[in-house]
């Protein structure tokens, strides 16, 4: 029976922690990483399209994905790319870490986080695109708030429903796309 106590306590901790997992994602337009012009408005209409900017043929440093355990599992909140995710992981919703579930739309604007890959020890820039147009997936709710900021600092806020920038503003889940390698961590703590 002792274990049951522990589960209950674990569950309560999960309740406490997971509440903000229900918060909803907000990220800086992927356009920034491509070096395009700074969007003065929260949504740069010119950034419409899929999140990762730049020509398809571009080759970039590739992370080592041979990781065992939760840090290597895109369905886990502990997946290494999920260091700044906020919402349902699309890998649990019919998508993957880089594909939205069937019938949804990739949000044109994203927030970018910097996550450390435990296999190669390098920091990567991650674009967290929302997948939009079907109602809330609800599975694999994940959240971390390191560096998260209130709505007046919009490109660091993860409460906002960033599907508001998409054709349909209904939030389904979030993906985590590697768009490059970073040399240092973000300034916000």
């Amino acid at each position: 029976m002792r274990s049951l106590d522990e589960w209950l306590e674990g569950r309560a901790r999960a309740i406490a922690r997971n509440t903000s997992r229900r918060t909803f994602l907000a990220r800086l337009g992927g356009v920034l990483a491509g070096g395009a012009a700074l969007p003065l408005l929260p949504v740069s209409r010119s950034s419409a399209g899929t999140g990762s900017a730049g020509p398809d043929s571009a080759r970039v440093p590739a992370p080592d994905e041979t990781i065992t355990g939760p840090e290597g599992d895109p369905k886990s909140c502990e997946y290494w790319r999920h260091c700044a995710i906020d919402g349902s992981a699309c890998a649990c919703c019919g998508g993957s870490s880089t594909t939205c579930p069937p019938g949804t739309e990739v949000s044109p604007v994203t927030w970018i986080g910097t996550c450390r890959n435990p296999a190669d020890g390098k920091e990567y820039l991650i674009s967290y695109n929302d997948c939009c147009g079907k109602t809330f997936c609800g599975r694999c709710l994940c959240n971390r708030n390191e560096g998260e900021r209130p709505e007046y600092h919009w490109y660091r806020n993860n409460d906002i429903n960033w599907c508001a920038g998409a054709t349909s503003q209904v939030y389904n889940c979030s993906i985590a796309v590697v768009i490059g390698q970073a040399t240092e961590r973000q300034p916000e703590k």
Binding site: S52, S96, T99, P102
Partner: protein, 412 residues
């Protein structure tokens, strides 16, 4: 719209910060094409897929029963219970019979069929219809395909009727009043049956365009006061098998012009009856066509217990009318709570959960129609679906985080 005359906030300095922070490193040894966000498509629909509706989120989730993974979702706005999607393979389309209001739960009501591509799950178009589809808790046989061309939608107000939707012409055909009868039980490309309050079943034939052509009625085969049959029923080709509250099995054959009634038989023997075993649940009857197996959720109860969850699924060979198996319910409470606790199904902890937590039992079942069938089982109040080997009742896995509440399941 008016722009405030204040100077814009200092976004440019922030940009400088960002550039410093997100500075891209020079390419290193390991390189690959830049990742690109994209949208997944569905794999070909496997035999062990299942639609799981959720009343709170108002969508249906498509699970792969073999991997336990979610393949996709279809939104299913509704008043109470979302209707499960209908698949037509020849057109590669999925249909959802939906209800919406112009202002959420207020404003003008609209009834419509949403049409989705079955590979991309993208919305294609909708077919608005003028009747108001039935809305209930259990929703057994409320919206069904009639052949591949038509959908019959059961309406309850202002009269019980069936609205015929032509999926090819993308139009509402007409409303066929079936006063005193209920449900859409598909027979063939132009016929469907209903159950009636006088203890009969009617078969309604449509013409080529989907309009009412003629009706035939079976002899009475059950007594609505003494021992009614449930709406939940099992289909095998041109026959439907109905099960009464007390466990009497009535099979109606619709292959002739007039539905014919086979001799009924009982699910339970005297020993079962003295132990008060009887069928019950929500969608508690299923048939595997090729093997002629009948699956029914069973519990120990009495009059008024016909919606109680059952701890077992019993299996009969319909040809011999002999019971061939008793399957125990997996512990869906443990599966549901375990997934929230992050306990994996093969772990020791999960085993302990299974042992400690009492099972909530089964309300609803659905069986796949392939040669190696699986039986999906759910409790209407738990967001977990059990997958059993339908040949021996072995628990194979659980479909977890499957919403919060829903009375039905559908194998596409």
């Amino acid at each position: 719209m008016r722009t405030s005359p204040s100077s814009p906030p200092p976004v440019v300095p922030l940009f400088a910060l960002l550039v410093a922070a997100f500075c891209l490193a020079a390419p290193l040894a390991a390189e690959a094409p830049r990742e690109k966000a994209s949208v997944a498509t569905l794999p070909p629909m496997g035999a062990h897929s299942v639609w799981v509706p959720d009343r709170l989120t108002l969508h249906n989730v498509l699970f792969d029963g073999d991997s336990g993974e979610v393949l996709g979702m279809v939104d299913s706005p509704s008043l109470i219970t979302p209707k499960t999607p209908l698949l037509v393979r020849s057109r590669n389309e999925i249909y959802s019979v939906d209800i919406a209001h112009s202002r959420g739960t207020r404003g003008e009501r609209v009834d419509f069929v949403s049409v989705y591509d079955a590979t991309t799950l993208s919305f294609k178009h909708e077919i608005v219809f003028p009747t108001q589809s039935g809305s209930s808790n259990t929703s057994q046989q409320y919206a069904e395909l009639i052949g591949e061309r038509f959908i019959g939608v059961f309406n309850q107000f202002p009269n019980t009727s069936v609205a015929i939707i032509d999926l090819v012409e993308q139009r509402f055909v007409e409303e066929i009043v079936i006063t005193g009868c209920a449900g859409v039980y598909p027979i063939d490309a132009h016929r469907f049956a209903s159950l009636c309050g006088d203890g009969t079943s009617i078969a309604i034939e449509l013409d080529e365009s989907g309009s009412y052509k003629q009706l035939s009625r079976s002899a009475p085969f059950f007594d609505v006061i003494e021992d009614p049959v449930a709406m939940s029923a099992g289909r095998s080709e041109l026959r439907w098998t109905f099960v009464s509250f007390a466990g009497q099995v009535h099979t109606i054959d619709y292959s002739e012009a007039t539905p014919t009634v086979a001799a009924s038989w009982s699910l339970t023997d005297e020993a079962d009856q003295s132990d008060r075993w009887r069928p019950g649940g929500l969608q508690y009857v299923a048939v595997h066509r090729k093997s002629g197996r009948l699956f029914v959720v069973m519990h120990q109860g009495g009059p008024g217990s016909h919606k109680d969850a059952g701890p077992e699924v019993w299996v009969w060979d319909m040809a011999t009318q002999q019971r061939v198996s008793r399957f125990e319910s997996p512990n869906l409470t443990a599966a549901f709570l375990g997934s929230f606790m992050g306990v994996t199904e093969d772990s020791f902890l999960h085993g302990v959960l299974n042992w400690v937590l009492p099972s909530g039992g089964i309300h609803t079942i659905a069986v796949s129609q392939d040669e190696s069938p699986v039986l999906f089982v759910r409790n209407g109040m738990l967001g977990a679906v059990g997958v059993l080997d339908a040949t021996n009742g072995n628990s194979l896995r659980s479909l977890t985080e499957a919403g919060l509440s829903g009375p039905t399941l559908r194998v596409p």
